[in-house]
Symmetry: C2
Subunit: 345 residues, 2 copies
């Protein structure tokens, strides 16, 4: 009798614990991107009670990152650094100032970002890029985790609609064909590059995958050119959210409407893969500010609800999301609230 | 009545608190030095329940420190970095590895110590060397505090017994007159340099002041050339302890006995200022190891008790203190125990 009683009591306890775990399971969110776009999305989410991972592009080859990539043979640390800074708590301001600090003097130091040197030194000490990034995260006491999309070197190549090829992320980012207004036809890597197993693991375990905003061809799409990434996203049961850009980028996405961003992105992942698209309500932007954009040869990303009629499962979220300060980027607070509403639906 | 009662109760409480504070007051120890010598003393003390401050020389002008001093106009960070590393807890190993890391590649980075770049970047961000060092200490979670002896630039000048002058700490450290075996007559600074007010404050509040070991002319004495330092030590009621070197340094202290170290040092501070001298029991060093020293043109620092007969207040502590691993430096554990015994007398 006593044994049966024990068995029953234990079963009830185990059931209760399992149930508690189900209820208390922290929602896992994976943000994929690069550059300053992913910075905003991470900033917008870092104060919510979620398990947050930034999976970051390694296609950067300009500036301080480019020099370190050439001279030390390490992966370009620039995008990793931005993501680490984005996830550092407000109390770590001195550390983020340090990470963002750029040497202005010194024959050999000028132009180097301190954060990039930090990651370079840690990589050489640990002999392992994943570990170096995790250790940097610990030192910065970040909320969440930063994972490079791949541990292998690669270069980005763009084929323009004119048939011309451009080699290297920086050259594509600031292309010489600017004046000609020739757009990109296709983007690819110079070699087959395997995904970082840690990135695969993080995506596999995600409840939500958030992509964007950011430079479509140089910060967002390079992630999906890495072997294994688009397959894992395609097969994932996670809800997929695309945070569309507020403005176009001259020479990359001129005249792009929201539907063009979505279509181009899906070409590199899979058709109809998104569950949500978050659009900035471009009508809320005052006329006088549109001038600033046009001076920078940027256009507001527009849309009609009708554009998305073929996307049956796609939920279209339209919100006034442009920052009141710069208007060129998302307001972190409002983007965070919008994403949090989706997660809590 | 009630007021009298209140007054009496409060008086008792205040007396009790004062008494508690007296009993619980943490002993404040200030270690003054530079180079690797001060590193050992700090390592030996950091795990004891004391209030520990390292006051560190700023005379260094070679290597990575020298380049940063020239190119950024900041104080040389090398000795500060060593002291910070010495005070970092064992759990911060990755951070100390990082601080000690020296770039081996990179056209402009080769030879730079990462810790030096860390302090340089922090100085440029905070615009305040004291604050930069304190912030670095917080990031490393150090036990105690590191304070530069001065916030002003200066250069060390040595006058040799031959009448020749040598300019700069590095040149004195590795002097060109090595073969001639000409010793230093006098050492001084190229300009009048004020003490760091924080250093003055720390010395003023010290219960014990520990000096050495280290290179006498290039790491120890430069601290007492800073205006105000010797006066504050002279007038301090703190017990003063000199940890004498285990071996001499060729071209600086050839044939020096312990009494010569003491006399030279006191010339730059004040006569009879020390309460304790800690001597390594040179007789305990095996003969075969003396060969290693002589190959490096170093000699064991010897002494006779009689040498110190004029130093009435001086307590002479003789212990087997040489490290079993290197023998060129003090064993941290045994040096710590020796100092702790003095403090607890």
């Amino acid at each position: 009798m006593s044994n049966i009683f024990k068995f029953l009591t234990n079963s009830v306890i185990i059931y209760k614990i399992k149930n508690m775990n189900m209820k208390n399971k922290t929602i896992k969110i994976v943000v994929i991107g690069g550059g300053t776009g992913v910075f905003n999305t991470l900033m917008s989410l870092k104060n919510y009670p979620i398990d947050l991972t930034a999976i970051v592009s390694i296609a950067d080859d300009g500036g301080s990152s480019g020099v370190l990539r050439e001279e030390f043979g390490i992966l370009p640390p620039g995008d990793i650094r931005r993501a680490l800074v984005a996830l550092t708590p407000e109390s770590g301001k001195i550390l983020t100032d340090l990470f963002n600090y750029r040497f202005e003097n010194g024959s050999g130091l000028r132009g180097h970002s301190f954060g990039n040197l930090f990651i370079t030194a840690l990589t050489n000490i640990t002999k392992n890029f994943n570990k170096a990034v995790d250790e940097a995260g610990k030192i910065l006491n970040i909320k969440g985790r930063v994972v490079p999309i791949s541990l292998s070197q690669c270069r980005l190549i763009a084929k323009l609609r004119s048939g011309v090829f451009i080699f290297g992320e920086t050259n594509i980012d600031i292309p010489k064909n600017k004046e000609k207004n020739v757009l990109i036809e296709k983007i690819f890597l110079d070699n087959k590059v395997e995904a970082n197993p840690e990135a695969i693991k993080e995506i596999k375990n995600a409840d939500y995958i958030i992509i964007g905003p950011g430079d479509l061809y140089t910060s967002i799409i390079p992630n999906f050119l890495i072997s294994g990434i688009k397959e894992i996203i395609r097969n994932s049961k996670a809800k997929k959210i695309f945070v569309c850009n507020i403005v176009t980028k001259f020479s990359e996405t001129n005249n792009f409407k929201a539907i063009d961003f979505l279509k181009t992105l899906e070409k590199y992942i899979c058709k109809n893969c998104f569950d949500y698209i978050i659009l900035n309500d471009y009508k809320k932007i005052p006329k006088r500010l549109k001038c600033i954009y046009s001076r920078e040869r940027k256009q507001l990303v527009k849309f009609k609800k009708n554009d998305f009629k073929k996307y049956r499962k796609l939920n279209i979220i339209i919100k006034d999301l442009a920052s009141k300060h710069t208007l060129l980027r998302h307001d972190n607070k409002r983007l965070g609230e919008t994403l949090w509403d989706i997660i809590n639906q």
